[in-house]
């Protein structure tokens, strides 16, 4: 079972105010169609896993901008996946130039002693594979920073992938 609200424990390096936003948006993006206990169709390094997703229900779902809930919610879900399944920890946010960047986060893999650069993308019901292909191309440019990893989350089913 993967608890969205465990994000702060999984990533102590994430500011508390941002944890509140990411978990809140993730819960709201999920609540548009699902209830806690929903199965997430997760693909980890090519291996399919049925993961049970849980979260504390949030109020005010209809007052939140849909796109913001999808983008920030995907970030909340993806960071929960890397913390829960891979034990990678956030080291820091990466800078962008005028909103453009090769990757979002620099993480640390304590088992391998390696740096990971993670690019996250989310969609509510848009094409999943096309987004994965796009993000693979984008992250390839970031290899000099560490091992490039992509995560894409779609809230419709819900489904998600994480791969190097």
């Amino acid at each position: 079972m993967m608890d969205i609200d465990a994000l702060q424990r999984l990533h102590p390096g994430l500011p508390g105010w941002r944890v509140g936003e990411l978990t809140g948006y993730a819960a709201i993006a999920l609540q548009r169609r699902h209830r806690p206990g929903k199965t997430l169709a997760l693909t980890l390094g090519g291996k399919p896993i049925a993961e049970t997703l849980t979260w504390s229900p949030r109020s005010g779902v209809h007052m939140v901008d849909d796109d913001r809930a999808t983008d920030a919610g995907a970030e909340g879900v993806a960071l929960t996946i890397v913390g829960h399944h891979r034990k990678w920890r956030i080291e820091r946010r990466l800078t962008s130039r005028r909103g453009k960047r090769e990757a979002d986060w620099l993480l640390y893999d304590p088992e391998a002693g390696k740096k990971i650069v993670l690019e996250i993308s989310g969609t509510d019901e848009g094409p999943f594979e096309a987004r994965v292909r796009e993000k693979r191309g984008q992250i390839r440019l970031a290899t000099r920073r560490g091992r490039p990893v992509v995560s894409v989350v779609r809230f419709l089913e819900p489904k998600a992938m994480l791969e190097a």
Binding site: R18, I90, R92, R93, L94, T95, R97, L106, K115, R144
Partner: protein
């Protein structure tokens, strides 16, 4: 006591996330990106350019200065970081310097074009 790498990483993460929330090209964004650039500069001072952290911080210090519209600072930092930079970092810094030059040229030569006007017609 000097700041640790963990402390600075936490502070720069917080600063970047706040800067990303500000309206693009606003005074607030410029102020926040200036803070990001200063924190990245501090990280650069305690890391070497060959490390991932060191490369990220040096590029971050320059890009954040550009996002703060402080191209003088961006240029100064990029030139300083070129000294002893490994090839991949040097390439990134040179790309950023090219961007600084472009911005500087636009400031020095504003895009002003003559406008044709018939004063007699306007007066009539």
């Amino acid at each position: 006591m000097p700041a640790t790498s963990d402390d600075l990483n936490a502070r720069v993460t917080d600063a970047i996330l706040r800067a990303e929330r500000a309206a693009p090209d606003s005074d607030e964004a410029a102020f926040l990106y200036r803070q990001v650039s200063e924190l990245e500069e501090q990280i650069s001072e305690i890391t070497t350019p060959e490390t991932v952290e060191g490369g990220v911080a040096r590029v971050g210090a320059v890009t954040a200065a550009l996002d703060a519209d402080d191209w003088v600072r961006a240029s100064r930092l990029a030139e300083a970081y070129l000294v002893g930079a490994p090839a991949d970092l040097e390439e990134e810094l040179r790309d950023l310097l090219a961007e600084v030059d472009l911005v500087a040229r636009k400031v020095a030569e504003p895009d002003v074009r003559p406008v044709e006007a018939n004063l007699e017609a306007l007066a009539a």
